[in-house]
Structure formats: C-alpha cells, structure tokens
C-alpha cells in the first residue's frame, strides 16, 4: 500500500492561508520540526489525514518572526514552544506560550549552534 508522504515548500505570505485550508479539509497537525540551516531555520509542519501525510516546508531567516498556528490548531502549542526554546525560532502569539520555560534547561537555545 502506498500513502502520501510529501514535502512541499511554501512561502511565508501563503503559509497561514495554506494552514487554514488544511484545517478546512480535515487535516490535523501531527508534527512540527525545526532544523538549523545557514542563516536561518527550516520549519516543517506535517499534517495527517488518515494514512496520508503532507509536510509544509517554511524557510525563515534567523531574526524573522513566524506566526503561530495555535490559533488554528490549538494542540500545536507543545511543539511550537519546543522549537522556540531549543532553536530560538521567533514564533509569535503562541496560545499558551511558555516563554522559554518548557524544559527549563540551563543553556539557551542549544540547537542554534552546530556540533
């Protein structure tokens, strides 16, 4: 059996629109992941519907802010907080923002530096 498992790049101006469309079509967030790349971050938002999975890939610069998707998918708050705390991604307006106090680690944004 083959199921959808795709990664689609998306630009910031279309991002929220796409997220809302996903919600309307009955997808839900299953995973949010940040990756440190040169000069910024790569954010992957994975949505699932039954056995299909589609991932939106958003590239952001280091000091660029990202809108939170918790207004659309409330339950994404844990993983958004995690990306903000461990990587230093600037995510705005998270519903239930822990403000860097989710894991309360001694070192700030450990994943920001490589190695």
């Amino acid at each position: 059996m083959e199921f959808l498992n795709t990664i689609e790049e998306i630009s910031m101006d279309k991002f929220m629109q796409e997220v809302i469309r996903f919600k309307m079509e009955g997808w839900h967030v299953i995973q949010i992941c940040a990756v440190r790349v040169d000069g910024g971050y790569e954010l992957s938002y994975s949505f699932g519907r039954d056995y299909d999975m589609r991932t939106l890939r958003l590239k952001v610069a280091e000091d660029e802010t990202v809108p939170s998707i918790t207004q659309v998918f409330h339950t994404a708050y844990l993983q958004e907080n995690e990306a903000a705390e461990l990587f230093g991604v600037k995510i705005e307006n998270i519903d239930l923002d822990f403000k860097g106090k989710l894991y309360r680690i001694s070192r700030e944004t450990p994943f920001k530096e490589k190695g």
């Binding site: 309360r104 680690i105 001694s106 070192r107 450990p110």
Partner: protein, 148 residues
C-alpha cells in the same frame, strides 16, 4: 550476609533516566525477583527511607530535587546509583543538559553498573548497601554515645 539487621525502606528517584533502569527497579519488587521477601519496602516518603536509589544522570532541574530528597532522609542513609547513567552519565554524558553522574550532587556509596542494570545486580547493590548501612549505623551509635 547471615541475616538482616532491619527491614530497610527504599526510595527511588528518576534523575533523568531513559526508564530502562526504573522499570527494572520496579521489577525487583514483583514476584520473580521479589526483594520484599527481605523485608525491603519501596516507599515514596523520603522521611522514612534508609536507602536512596537514583537512576539516570543528573540535569539542571533534577539536581535540586535530589539534594532536597537526600537532606530529608534521616541519618544514617545510603545512596545507590543504579545504571551507568547514574554512575557516570553514561551514553548521555555529552548531552548539553546532563551534568554527569549522581556523585556530582550527593555522595554515592554503591555503584550498580549496566545499561540497563539487571535486577540481579540491583539486588546485589541493595545487599551491599545494607552492609554499609549497618556500619554507618554502628558509627552513628558510637558517636551518639560519645556525646558528639
């Protein structure tokens, strides 16, 4: 060990382990290994515990909890580090959020190796801890008698 001087009570705390050693500590109290036949009881209250078993390495957050639990236990007391992470930090030693073994925070009397520590070695560690506890108890009584 000819006989047990008393029925020691255990207190278990999960420093920042992977769960492997924790479920093995718990498995020690269930029918196959059954440390309870030695009169050992797993308690949740530091004020009534004689032996503190710590699994997993110590991180920034659990550091204070472990110190506090240790200070709440009455003298004489023995600390057993269960599993390689509790001994030295183990496979997580290089992680940014791991400080090292339990002995970076409180004095440790018995080190139980293994990843995960097997129930047999955990029981062995407890038996060793009992001997140390007995010695500490005698020393404590002697100090008391001398009026220190």
């Amino acid at each position: 060990m000819a006989k047990l001087a008393k029925s020691p009570w255990l207190l278990h705390y999960d420093g920042s382990s992977c769960n492997g050693c924790d479920i093995e500590v718990l498995a020690c109290t269930t029918p196959k290994y059954d440390v309870e036949r030695f009169g050992i009881i797993n308690t949740g209250d530091p004020f009534q515990a004689d032996i503190l078993m710590v699994t997993g390495g110590v991180n920034h957050q659990s550091e204070n909890v472990i110190k506090q639990i240790y200070s709440q236990m009455p003298d004489p007391k023995v600390v057993v580090a269960v599993g390689i992470c509790a001994c030295t930090g183990g496979v997580f030693k290089e992680c940014y959020n791991i400080k090292g073994g339990v002995d970076t925070v409180i004095p440790v009397d018995v080190y139980v190796p293994g990843c995960a520590a097997r129930p047999e070695s955990i029981i062995d560690g407890v038996v060793k801890a009992l001997e140390i506890l007995e010695k500490k108890r005698e020393a404590y009584a002697a100090r008391k008698k001398a009026g220190a």
